[in-house]
């Protein structure tokens, strides 16, 4: 094993796959000469050249559409959005074209493309730069949505995303690029749609994904001191959703808390809540609690932002609530 940064995991995954398959290219703002806005493509222009590591003007709709179009002539593009907040400018190409070309053509065309970049808040960036659209994309049949929370998962899942023959939304975080973690020396690929039990426990199940899962770890440490044992499930993939992993855990602990950095109305936690009550109603000893951001655009001021974001205290409170403590 070796220790690398999250941004290096992204870079290694893309580079290894591009060495393997000539039809893959990387396209986006600042990906080539600048080495990536967050240095996730450092050195790739030097290795692969300007034909395959392609700087674009600021035209998220245009380059997303061109990338989608090129899948119909045999390419397998990786499109980097500097953040998924900017993907909204090009979301027509993702929802109406990438996600539907296979279906609308009766299966004649496939669309192997990865849209990747950071999601969610990243400090005091204000309302337009702090949004989490996992549930928007996950709502759309035809797309797959992956949101890793650590270095190992990021590399293995990004390789799987690039090899996948369907369009994949791969969401990172500005606040994770510097995270360090261990990866194997050799190649590995992780399966899409398989959740991972990050911590085993017996009293309560906490389901989360992406960088916010760290708040669950902190809460679990604290609760452990009080003798409460938390099982933490990292979804890793939001669509397809590994609901069986959640159900198995709930059947063991009988209590469920869901932690998701997103607005509360109609999000991934809502879907899990519905599915668990539908399939494991009799196993629940308490109503499910979901923890999300405040139901407002993200504020700028530090005190307000801290209040807006889900945190480990929220998780502690939620766990105690489902345990009637």
């Amino acid at each position: 094993m070796r220790t690398i940064q999250f941004r290096e995991a992204i870079c290694e995954a893309m580079s290894e796959e591009m060495r393997r398959d000539e039809s893959i290219y990387l396209m986006g703002e600042e990906v080539a000469e600048y080495n990536g806005a967050y240095k996730a493509s450092k050195g790739m222009l030097d290795e692969f050249g300007a034909k395959r590591v392609i700087d674009t003007p600021i035209a998220e709709l245009g380059f997303a559409g061109i990338a989608v179009g090129s899948t119909m002539t045999g390419n397998r593009p990786i499109v980097e959005y500097m953040t998924f907040n900017f993907s909204l400018v090009g979301i027509d190409q993702i929802i109406n074209n990438a996600a539907k070309i296979r279906q609308m053509s009766g299966g004649q065309f496939k669309c192997p493309i990865v849209f990747r970049g950071p999601t969610g808040s990243a400090g005091q960036l204000g309302a337009t730069h702090s949004q989490a659209f996992e549930s928007w994309f996950a709502n759309t049949p035809g797309l797959k949505v992956i949101v890793p929370s650590n270095v190992y998962d990021a590399k293995g899942l990004l390789k799987a995303a690039i090899r996948d023959d369907d369009p994949v939304i791969f969401m990172e975080s500005e606040q994770m690029y510097g995270d360090k973690g261990e990866v194997p020396d050799g190649e590995y690929v992780l399966p899409i749609g398989v959740a991972d039990i990050k911590r085993e426990g017996t009293d309560v199940t906490i389901v989360s994904f992406g960088k916010i899962i760290k708040e669950a770890y902190k809460a679990a440490d604290e609760l452990q001191k009080e003798g409460i044992s938390c099982e933490i499930i990292d979804l890793r993939t939001v669509r397809p959703l590994d609901i069986n992993a959640v159900l198995d855990s709930v059947k063991k602990t009988n209590r469920l808390v869901i932690l998701e950095e997103a607005w509360p109305f109609g999000n991934v936690s809502t879907e899990i809540t519905y599915q668990v009550q539908a399939q494991a109603f009799d196993y629940l000893d308490a109503p499910i609690v979901k923890i999300n951001t405040a139901d407002t655009p993200a504020p700028y001021s530090p005190e307000l932002l801290a209040e807006w974001l889900p945190n480990s205290n929220d998780v502690v409170k939620a766990v105690k609530k489902v345990m009637y403590k």
Binding site: G62, V68, N96, G106, Q108
Partner: protein, 332 residues
């Protein structure tokens, strides 16, 4: 470009007439409710397709367009029976009945849709050309859209990128005068849509879109430019649609006299006049073609009528690559 000969004229007459009658048949069966949803017909614009096909290398060149898209795939080689069946929502349709009127596709014949969002296909067309250039193919993509789409931001982002990357694409604005019920003059400060190319230093020109010869000549120049590494061209085809935008269109935005004016320069009539005046064929010969076209259109209707509706499971089978994809929630 192949020479425009007697045979070309006869083919144009036969093809354009078939497209016209195919669309007329769809209008008729729409009233019978065999075809539902939106239905955008190509009547009046046939010279654009006829001229384009003459200039294209149909062994490799590609086409993508918006939702007025029934006859282009037929021109490129798709069996019209399957297009008709798609509109009937039948399993034998080009997309197994999943696409409908606005979403005709044929990978085999390099017709890339059939797109329902105005202007959404413009970057896709450039992307198809991007893929060809990437793979060192000398194929050229015709990326077609209407005058309404010329006002979308997607056009401008795509024009800029296509020039920046020197893509082998011809952008084709079929200006039929109206974006649904809004005339071109009501959508911009000038009516010369081709001039939108100037800001990107893209070669651009207006073309008489009612005359297949003028169309073929303009396309030939543009396609050769793209094929030999000269990059994109933007052509504005001045054309006209006789029917409404879709089926429920009272057409209060124009006069009947205006429609009649355009029918005087109807592309089929123009070609017919040349055929008769140059004695390429007799009235009797053309009547035989007319009868044959009528018969072929009826065969399409019969095929579509008699084809089965798709099995209900088909809608779950084409959303993802993996067969029997286990994660789609089925209805209870």
């Amino acid at each position: 470009m192949q020479k425009i000969t007697k045979e070309t004229y006869i083919k144009w007459y036969e093809d354009m007439l078939f497209w016209r009658k195919f669309e007329d048949k769809l209008a008729a069966v729409y009233i019978q409710q065999k075809v539902r949803g939106f239905l955008h017909l190509y009547n009046g614009q046939e010279a654009v397709l006829a001229g384009a096909l003459h200039a294209m290398d149909l062994s490799k060149d590609k086409m993508i367009t918006a939702y007025r898209n029934h006859v282009q795939p037929i021109g490129m080689g798709v069996d019209p029976k399957r297009v008709m069946a798609e509109l009937f929502g039948k399993a034998t349709g080009t997309s197994q009945g999943l696409g409908g009127s606005m979403h005709i596709f044929s990978k085999e014949h390099r017709f890339y849709g059939g797109h329902g969002i105005v202007g959404g296909q413009i970057p896709l067309g450039a992307g198809i050309a991007f893929g060809d250039k990437y793979h060192d193919s000398d194929a050229v993509t015709l990326c077609c859209f209407g005058d309404g789409a010329a006002r979308q931001g997607s056009l401008h982002e795509t024009f800029n990128l296509a020039m920046l990357w020197n893509l082998p694409v011809v952008f084709v604005c079929e200006n039929n005068g109206y974006a649904m019920g809004t005339s071109v003059k009501r959508t911009a400060s000038h009516e010369d849509i081709y001039k939108l190319g100037l800001g990107y230093e893209m070669p651009c020109a207006p073309v008489d879109g009612m005359n297949p010869i003028k169309v073929a000549e303009a396309f030939d120049e543009a396609i050769q430019r793209a094929r030999t590494g000269g990059g994109p061209t933007f052509l504005e085809l001045k054309t006209y649609r006789y029917r409404g935008h879709s089926m429920s269109d009272a057409q209060h935005y124009r006069t009947k006299a205006e429609v009649e004016e355009y029918k005087k320069i109807d592309p089929i009539s123009q070609v017919k006049d040349v055929i008769l005046s140059k004695k390429y064929a007799t009235e009797a010969d053309l009547k035989k073609i007319d009868a044959d076209v009528k018969k072929r259109v009826l065969e399409c209707e019969k095929f579509a009528d008699e084809s089965p509706y798709p099995d209900k499971s088909v809608m779950y089978d084409v959303v993802y690559e993996q067969e029997d994809y286990p994660f789609l929630q089925h209805k209870i």
